[in-house]
């Protein structure tokens, strides 16, 4: 239990997806102009990562990993080079499914972040989460916790950045820094702040 808690903290803060691993930066910078959209994006990322990482883990372990087909008399079969295609397929399908479920039961919610949901199909943080899971060979519980933790880390970071950018709309910046330039520098400062988590002693 303790190990899972520390994995959650580590994936959310120490190895924060956008700030220390540079994953998902496109949406991180493009959709952080307003806190409202940032909250929607954060929730969507948590939901999709929490689902896709464990599902991909099951697929990887039972279909793609080297030796997964031993029971069928094919111990040498190694399909792990197909993991990229499989993971992308699962992520797009999961995004589509979440969209359909929400459309059916919570149509109000889909109007708030409907557009970002379809964007998540090609989100590097989500795909990266699954690839890291396969690289580090987590088990099922670990991959579920890792998915939720990374999603939470992304949500926290994007909401914080949007709040800071909101405060900066009245600032008189140099013309060249307006918009994207200052967003990068703010992200750098947040990344400096998050790098102190690496020194934290985990239980």
């Amino acid at each position: 239990m303790n190990e899972l808690a520390s994995l959650f903290i580590r994936s959310a803060f120490v190895e924060n997806m956008p700030l220390t691993l540079f994953l998902g930066l496109c949406t991180f910078l493009a959709l952080s102009r307003r806190p409202g959209t940032a909250v929607g994006l954060g929730i969507a990322v948590i939901a999709v990562m929490g689902v896709t990482v464990p599902v991909n883990h099951l697929l990887y372990q039972f279909v793609l990993a080297p030796g997964a087909w031993t029971w069928a008399g094919l111990p040498d079969l190694d399909l792990s080079y197909l993991r990229l295609l499989t993971f992308i397929g699962v992520v797009s399908a999961a995004v589509q499914l979440v969209e359909m479920v929400l459309d059916r039961y919570l149509p109000a919610l889909i109007t708030t972040f409907g557009v970002f949901l379809s964007l998540l199909a090609v989100h590097c943080a989500i795909l990266g989460g699954s690839l890291f899971m396969a690289d580090r060979s987590y088990n099922l519980a670990e991959s579920a916790v890792f998915g939720l933790g990374s999603g939470t880390g992304f949500a926290v970071a994007v909401i914080m950045l949007s709040a800071i950018r909101r405060r900066l709309v009245y600032a008189d910046l140099p013309a060249g820094l307006q918009g994207l330039g200052i967003a990068f520098i703010l992200t750098g400062m947040m990344s400096l702040g998050f790098s102190t988590f690496a020194q934290m002693a985990l239980p």
């Binding site: 700030l19 220390t20 691993l21 540079f22 994953l23 998902g24 930066l25 496109c26 910078l29 493009a30 080079y81 197909l82 990229l84 295609l85 992308i88 797009s92 199909a121 090609v122 989100h123 590097c124 943080a125 795909l127 990266g128 690839l131 890291f132 690289d135 709309v169 009245y170 008189d172 910046l173 140099p174 013309a175 060249g176 820094l177 307006q178 918009g179 994207l180 330039g181 200052i182 967003a183 990068f184 520098i185 992200t187 750098g188 400062m189 990344s191 400096l192 790098s195």
Partner: protein, 217 residues
């Protein structure tokens, strides 16, 4: 005849990274050394040019309802080929790049160019446009990679340029350059530099201060 500007425009004037915020996702993590940045840039350029050629050839046969998933599959297959080639011939480099080569598949530069350009153009212009965007992306990666390696370790491509204190020289390596935040600061500075030079790229602020005419003057 192919206009030359299709290739040269995206390199500086319409740079995909600094102007359109595309494709920075998987890019920044690999810029701690110049060699890694150059490998990543080459891999991306190969993938984007091949993907543009294939998608442009298929453009009249792709029903628009499944075009996104088809593009993703084509790009992902090309990425797998590049990844396997890297593992076969440059094993150490592919270990250092780890998952970031696979993440070219979700790189917005690739999908953005195939979706907005290759789907509507003949193969040759599509490839030229893809090459230009690949080179624009490579330029940013190589600038960042050389700055970070030069000031973080005092070397370029592994050769000593600035003799560090440990080696008996004068240069004190800036360890910050090897950490994540420096990439953001450098990219922010790069955006600032390009936009001060090319002022038409400046974003207008929503609530910025503007000079108003004083009454009576």
């Amino acid at each position: 005849m192919l206009p030359w500007s299709t290739v040269t425009d995206p390199i500086l004037r319409q740079n995909p990274v600094t102007l359109q915020i595309l494709g920075i996702c998987s890019a920044l993590a690999v810029t701690t050394t110049l060699a890694a940045a150059a490998t990543m840039a080459a891999a991306l350029t190969v993938v984007i040019v091949c993907a543009a050629a294939i998608i442009s050839l298929l453009r009249n046969h792709l029903p628009s309802s499944i075009r996104l998933i088809m593009q993703i599959i084509i790009v992902a297959s090309l990425v797998i080929v590049v990844d396997q080639l890297l593992q076969a011939y440059f094993y150490e480099m592919s270990q250092r790049l780890s998952v970031f080569v696979s993440l070219i598949a979700t790189n917005c530069v690739v999908l953005g160019r195939t979706e907005s350009f290759a789907l509507h153009n003949r193969p040759l212009p599509a490839m030229a446009d893809a090459l230009g965007n690949g080179l624009g992306y490579s330029l940013v990666l190589i600038i960042l990679g050389s700055l970070r390696e030069l000031f973080g370790r005092g070397t370029l491509l592994g050769y000593e340029v600035l003799r560090t204190v440990e080696q008996g020289g004068w240069f004190e390596p800036l360890n910050l350059m090897l950490l994540a935040p420096s990439a953001f600061f450098l990219l922010g500075g790069l955006v600032w530099a390009i936009r001060s030079w090319r002022t038409e790229q400046v974003e207008t602020s929503e609530f910025g201060l503007t000079r108003v005419k004083e009454p009576g003057s």
